[in-house]
């Protein structure tokens, strides 16, 4: 989320915005606290979508034909994230006939944002070789977006990276909430739980955007996300402590513990409409 920037504007801004910076008496050693925020990747979000029983629906995605309409840095970054989620969606649902079009849209926006080095001839060839191999495609998408995040942060453009994150997350949330509205029975309860759990990601995204809102004109996006967060505040949550257990067979630590959440259909509709509204503001 935030890069290794060694006293540059970005780092100074992050430190100032987030926490204390205490110098000792000698002025040599400083106690500095830096804070970073991270959210689930496109791939993790779409695995949640698939696990919830949602069927693939091409019409819910942003058409790659729209790519030429994005002329501002903000719309390009937002839709880079959107297309990243859409590419993960078609990959995990094995709709490979669409993969090339979405990859092409991502490349166009990466070029426009000055991170064209991330998608070079070598990895285009690798991509084309692996279109039919879902596992390879998933790793490829993750590596591309990791490299985009890395390059933007190293270039002191963390705010662009933050918008990419928001676009990707909102696209996944839009797929979940639009489907949630038409699902019934236990499937609907399941997707509601997943949507409710994403309050944690929304909190992190808001903190991430706050780092950049003054200097990089992200105030309007922050206002929209805070409005969505207010709706999340209407959830009735009985928090349970996180459990940490060791699986005796595998020896692996298992982290769990479900909160009890009351999530009405009316609130789902309001959250769904709000997500749709924010997404469409930047997509259309």
């Amino acid at each position: 989320m935030h890069s290794c920037s060694d006293g540059t504007d970005e780092e100074i801004r992050t430190v100032n915005k987030t926490q204390q910076k205490d110098s000792d008496d000698t002025g040599k050693a400083e106690h500095v606290r830096k804070i970073l925020y991270s959210v689930p990747s496109h791939i993790e979000m779409i695995r949640l979508v698939k696990g919830s029983g949602i069927e693939f629906d091409k019409s819910i995605m942003n058409s790659p034909n729209q790519v030429a309409n994005y002329n501002s840095v903000k719309s390009q970054a937002f839709n880079l994230g959107v297309y990243g989620t859409d590419l993960a969606y078609i990959s995990i649902f094995e709709q490979t006939q669409e993969v090339l079009n979405y990859f092409s849209a991502i490349k166009t926006l990466a070029d426009e944002l000055g991170v064209s080095n991330v998608i070079n001839d070598k990895n285009i060839q690798r991509f084309e070789r692996n279109i039919e191999n879902q596992d390879s495609l998933i790793v490829f998408i993750s590596e591309i977006f990791y490299s985009i995040d890395e390059t933007l942060n190293e270039d002191e453009r963390g705010y662009v990276s933050a918008i990419v994150v928001v676009g990707g997350w909102l696209e996944a949330m839009n797929i979940m909430t639009q489907n949630g509205m038409i699902m019934t029975g236990s499937n609907r309860d399941g997707i509601k739980k997943i949507i409710a759990d994403q309050r944690h990601s929304l909190e992190n995204i808001i903190e991430l955007i706050k780092i950049y809102d003054n200097d990089d004109n992200l105030g309007d996006l922050l206002v929209k996300l805070e409005k969505l967060n207010l709706l999340y505040g209407e959830l009735i949550i009985q928090e349970e402590n996180t459990t940490v257990n060791k699986n005796e067979e595998t020896g692996k630590v298992v982290i769990g513990g479900d909160d009890k959440i009351e999530f009405s259909d009316e609130l789902l509709e309001k959250i769904s409409q709000e997500i749709d509204s924010i997404r469409n503001y930047y997509v259309n």
């Binding site: 989320m1 006293g7 830096k34 791939i43 949640l48 190293e154 982290i255």
Partner: protein, 145 residues
Amino acid sequence: MKNFSIIILLLAFAAPFSLSAQCKGFTKKKCIPLLENYVPAENYNTLQMFDGEEAELYLVFVENHDYRIAICSHPILGDVNFVIKTEQGDIVYSNTEAEDGNIFDFSTTSTKKLHIIISIPASESSTGMIQPGCVSIMVGNKPSS
């Protein structure tokens, strides 16, 4: 003398960019391989840190996944301490108390926010100069096996 000053000035401006590039190279070479067969998360969580500094990372881990968190730091920093806490502040993992050191593997049965705190112990260098080093917090995932 004037030329010498200009060189010093140029070096001072160049240093951050050079160190920044070193972090990128360091992460790619030394840290990403620690994820082995886990899919890398898409977030670049790399910092330059100095002695005595602390960093925090708030992460969301989704349900029914296997995860690996690997903390990777430049040897110039010496021992790097990190703890992972729940939202309630309970310690899930501390590298100073674990055998596996800087790699923590776990599974999730529900979506959880965790808090990672990294600290570089303060030390007095023989020259009195403090040098920064790169620290990468690598996160990898895969569906629960």
